[in-house]
């Protein structure tokens, strides 16, 4: 008897009874997935083709013939591409340093590199604008210099490219660093032994071999540039430079009779650009899979002499101080001023803004409550569902699960504004003529967060499950423990550290989310990101700075606690394996 292919579970783990039981469950789950993840996008696309006169291309015709449209598309491409170039150069440089060069304190450097992942980009932008503020420290320093030196205006194309670039270079770094480590050092040694210099070896051997990884990271940075809302919203909107993500947002808040239709068309445009990026990234990933079995070699290959080593280390730390510390200090300084435009002196300092944000403003309190609540619920439900899904995908892979994963990654891969818009269209009237009141309540934010971020947890949990060998579970079966007992005593203790790091990422991302929330919030469901954004838009920069400083502080404390918990956990298991 032969099992049909998709009942054939990996590693010979066939459990005949489970097949009959799971078939209806799978079907229902699959349909649920389609409803939650695919249907909204279909609705969004369909809306672009509807106008007052039924199905038509009217929206498209009108938008495509408007020169403003092409200006926005060109802005988007220029800014995304420019930031990608910057991110790639920085990412590659750091990947080379961390993978090949004998620097000290790499662990700490690694932390600084991933910092942009945990600090929301709109807070980074705010911090930089405070650094380059007319009354900020940089201006004061420059004033001491002779001659007329003008500060760089961040509210410009180059400003956006710069901030996007330094926010997204960790993406290129993460993709490249292990690719570099996986290149067998013998390849480079063979080139050196054939008479090539270090430089020639890097250009002729290392770089070509790492190219798929680098390009793949660059595509991701490009996608992230398309997706980003915070940076163009904080810098571009005041300067009247529109990119697609902010343009869609402005269409939506502008309302008007054809707002939805127009927003939908722009979303399709942005979606298509993102799809092209994804396709490129996917193709490159496939290309690189061939060599991905090579082992990771962490030993540095370029042994620098004492002087060059110290010089490079100083350069790296200067970069970190300049990009990850000074702007935030500048933001903190602004937050300590009682009124905008005052100079920073001891007499002027006050905690008035913090007092307002923490104790007086009903908005911020509500936002903190909402965001914490949303992040907690999303993380809790997400980690349970995500882990169960990940477990099944690793242990009993099937076509259904593979397809489901693709569905789940769609809302995360698509730009946030596109995704938020599709949520509005679906949940305003899930069935024509029936409005359950989801749009405008916290529920739609929860649904949006859940669908958008579930894939983060799935990926974290998949990594965790992959690290637990099947024999761990089989040993439990042989000892008589199955089902809940097995999960409670064996799987959960083994998976928990991995699940937690996935959940922490999910929690942080949800806590400070802006892109989706900016389109979905209502008076009662403001979130942290939305409040900071609206303070900024209304010109209350001291308040947004104070609130942002608080959030950064909370994030850093949370991050430190998590790291501590994981260290303790590892110590409990006896640390390194003795061989």
């Amino acid at each position: 008897m032969n099992h049909p292919p998709f009942f054939f579970y990996g590693k010979g783990r066939v459990e005949p009874r489970a097949i009959w039981l799971s078939f209806p469950i799978r079907t229902v789950a699959f349909l649920g997935l389609v409803m939650l993840f695919v249907w909204p996008i279909a609705r969004l696309v369909a809306l672009g083709f509807t106008s007052e006169h039924g199905v038509s291309l009217e929206n498209y015709q009108r938008i495509f013939s408007d020169p403003l449209t092409w200006q926005v598309v060109a802005n988007t491409l220029v800014i995304s591409t420019g930031s990608t170039v910057l991110a790639t150069i920085l990412g590659l440089f750091f990947a080379w340093l961390m993978a090949y060069v004998n620097l000290r304190g790499k662990k700490l450097m690694q932390l600084f590199i991933v910092l942009p992942f945990i600090i929301p980009s709109y807070i980074t932008t705010l911090a930089w604008t405070q650094l380059f503020n007319e009354n900020g420290i940089l201006a004061q320093v420059l004033a001491l210099l002779p001659g007329q030196v003008h500060l760089w205006n961040l509210y410009s194309y180059t400003g956006m490219i710069f901030i996007l670039g330094i926010t997204h270079y960790p993406l290129v770094y993460l993709f490249t660093v292990n690719v570099l480590r996986k290149i067998p050092r013998e390849m480079e040694q063979a080139c050196r032994a054939s008479g090539a210099s270090k430089g020639v070896t890097f250009c002729k051997v290392t770089l070509p071999m790492a190219l798929p990884g680098i390009a793949s990271g660059a595509f991701l940075a490009f996608l992230a540039g398309l997706d980003n809302f915070g940076i163009p919203a904080f810098l571009g909107i005041p300067a009247h430079i529109s990119v697609l993500s902010t343009h869609i947002y402005q269409q939506m808040i502008g309302f008007g009779p054809d707002a939805f239709g127009r927003a939908s068309v722009f979303s399709v445009l942005l979606g298509v650009l993102a799809l092209i990026g994804m396709l490129g990234q996917w193709l490159l990933q496939r290309m690189f899979k061939v060599g991905s079995t090579a082992s990771i070699d962490r030993q540095p290959r370029d042994q620098l002499s004492g002087f060059s080593q110290r010089f490079l280390e100083c350069t790296v730390w200067l970069f970190f101080i300049a990009t990850a510390m000074v702007p935030f200090l500048a933001m903190m300084m602004t937050s300590l001023l009682p009124a905008y435009g005052l100079t920073f002196t001891m007499q002027n300092l006050s905690l008035k803004n913090y007092g307002f944000v923490l104790f007086e403003s009903p908005d911020t309190q509500l936002a903190i409550r909402n965001s914490v609540q949303l992040a907690l619920v999303t993380t809790l439900i997400g980690s349970v569902i995500g882990t169960l899904f990940a477990y099944n995908q690793v242990r009993r892979p099937s076509r259904w699960l593979k397809m489901s994963e693709t569905f789940m990654s769609l809302p995360y891969a698509l730009p946030g504004t596109v995704m938020a818009l599709s949520m509005i269209f679906v949940w305003m009237e899930p069935i024509p003529g029936w409005n359950p009141g989801i749009y405008g309540s916290m529920t739609i934010l929860f649904l949006a967060y859940f669908t958008r971020f579930l894939i983060l947890q799935v990926r974290g949990s998949v990594t965790a499950v992959l690290q637990v060998d099947v024999s761990m579970e089989e040993a439990s079966h042989v000892s008589g423990a199955t089902g809940w007992t097995k999960w409670r005593k064996i799987l959960i203790p083994l998976l928990l550290p991995g699940i937690l790091s996935g959940a922490a990422l999910l929690f942080l991302t949800a806590l400070t989310e802006l892109t989706v929330s900016a389109l979905l919030y209502s008076a009662q469901s403001k979130t942290i990101g939305v409040v900071i954004f609206s303070y900024e838009q209304a010109g209350y920069t001291m308040l947004s700075s104070a609130f942002s400083s608080l959030i950064v502080l909370i994030i850093l404390i949370g991050f430190a606690l998590l790291a501590l918990a994981q260290t303790l956990w590892r110590r409990k298991e006896g640390g390194h394996h003795v061989h």
Binding site: G12, D469, S471, V578
Partner: protein
């Protein structure tokens, strides 16, 4: 516990990992399943354990059907214990917790054992000689100690069958030899049946009551270690277990005339009918002498390996290269022209041939 395996096959997509396996595991015996990697031995063990379901055939334990394509008794409902190749220790549990775990959860644990769990745990810790390390985590143990924890966890609930999947293969050479006698002692102490999967013929010959030799998803031969070693049924067994030289020639009645030395003939000391049909005579390395001054098969020494107790020579003859073990006192130069002589067979083997104890395996497709 006796296990009956009848016509069991297992297919993965189009690949047949097991083909019509018939095997009976007797109560209390130490049965080794021996074969090269990919021969299906682990697949068979996983079927017995219930981690997998056969594509055809049935498995019965004490007369109850536990596995067939349509019927599957889950692992935890079979009275078994298992030692994994990777040991599969849980990194978050101490040695003591590992022993206690099956005592709490195994469905066939004797009530008195469960009541006196602490006593039983201490007994098991004593058997595996880890009384002093009961509070350690797996990461704090050496390879041999981890191996013992895995063993202790498997025997703690006193299962009727112990399944072992290459349990010694991740240990270093010296420890592997030392663990053999420990495993034998545990077998004597517990009296359970042991099904022991290995690719190391030395382990199988040393410990097992009976050996099942497998190749390409089929059983080649079942028998005692001595039968397997001295009377291989197929050329595969002769080569894999005894490292025998397979000499081509012709059988005339009960005498064999080797191709490369047609003027001589050797007597039949119990060569199987399968080998006779293939016109093969198996000669193990220690069954040849090397002589300088004339003998049966002429050849040239092409390689020499010092092995401690013996010297292994490779001798190139007209029919191919032959492996021969000699005493250390016999010393030959590379390139030297020599002759091979077939030794007279030891008396003990000759007796067995007359009683014909070699088991008939039945069909294997």
């Amino acid at each position: 516990m006796s296990i009956n395996i009848t016509n069991v096959g297992r297919r993965f997509a189009r690949f047949a990992a097991l083909k019509r396996i018939n095997l009976t595991i007797k109560d209390g015996e130490f049965l080794a399943i021996l074969g090269p990697s990919g021969c299906g031995k682990t697949t068979l063990l996983r079927l017995i354990a219930g981690f997998d379901t056969p594509s055809e055939g049935t498995i019965e334990m004490e007369g109850n059907k536990v596995s067939s394509p349509k019927h599957h008794l889950p692992t935890e409902k079979r009275n078994i214990g298992m030692v994994f190749q990777s040991f599969a220790l849980w990194p978050h549990m101490t040695v003591r917790k590992h022993i206690e775990f099956p005592l709490k959860h195994h469905q066939f644990v004797n009530q008195s054992l469960r009541k006196n769990m602490e006593q039983r745990t201490n007994d098991v810790l004593k058997i595996i000689k880890l009384q002093d390390l009961a509070g350690r985590m797996p990461a704090e143990l050496s390879g041999g100690q981890r191996q013992r924890v895995a063993l202790g966890r498997a025997i703690a609930p006193e299962p009727k069958v112990l399944l072992m999947d290459e349990p010694l293969s991740s240990l270093d050479a010296e420890l592997r030899i030392a663990m053999r006698s420990e495993l034998q002692e545990i077998h004597r102490l517990t009296g359970t049946s042991i099904v022991y999967v290995t690719h190391d013929q030395g382990e199988a010959l040393a410990m097992a009551d009976r050996i099942v030799v497998m190749n390409q998803g089929s059983i080649e031969q079942i028998g005692t270690p001595q039968e397997i070693y001295t009377h291989p049924r197929t050329s595969f067994v002769a080569h894999f277990v005894g490292k025998a030289n397979l000499l081509k020639g012709s059988w005339q009645g009960r005498r064999f005339f080797p191709e490369e030395a047609a003027h001589i003939s050797w007597p039949d000391f119990g060569v199987s009918k399968e080998l006779k049909q293939e016109s093969i005579y198996p000669v193990r390395p220690e069954q040849f002498f090397i002589r300088r001054d004339g003998g049966e098969i002429p050849g040239t020494i092409t390689n020499r390996q010092y092995q401690g107790k013996a010297m292994r020579y490779t001798v190139q003859t007209a029919g191919g290269s032959r492996q021969v073990d000699t005493d250390l006192t016999d010393y030959f130069q590379l390139g030297e022209s020599v002759f091979l002589v077939f030794k007279t067979i030891p008396l003990a083997d000759a007796k067995e041939v007359e009683t014909g104890r070699s088991e008939n395996v039945g069909e294997s497709v």
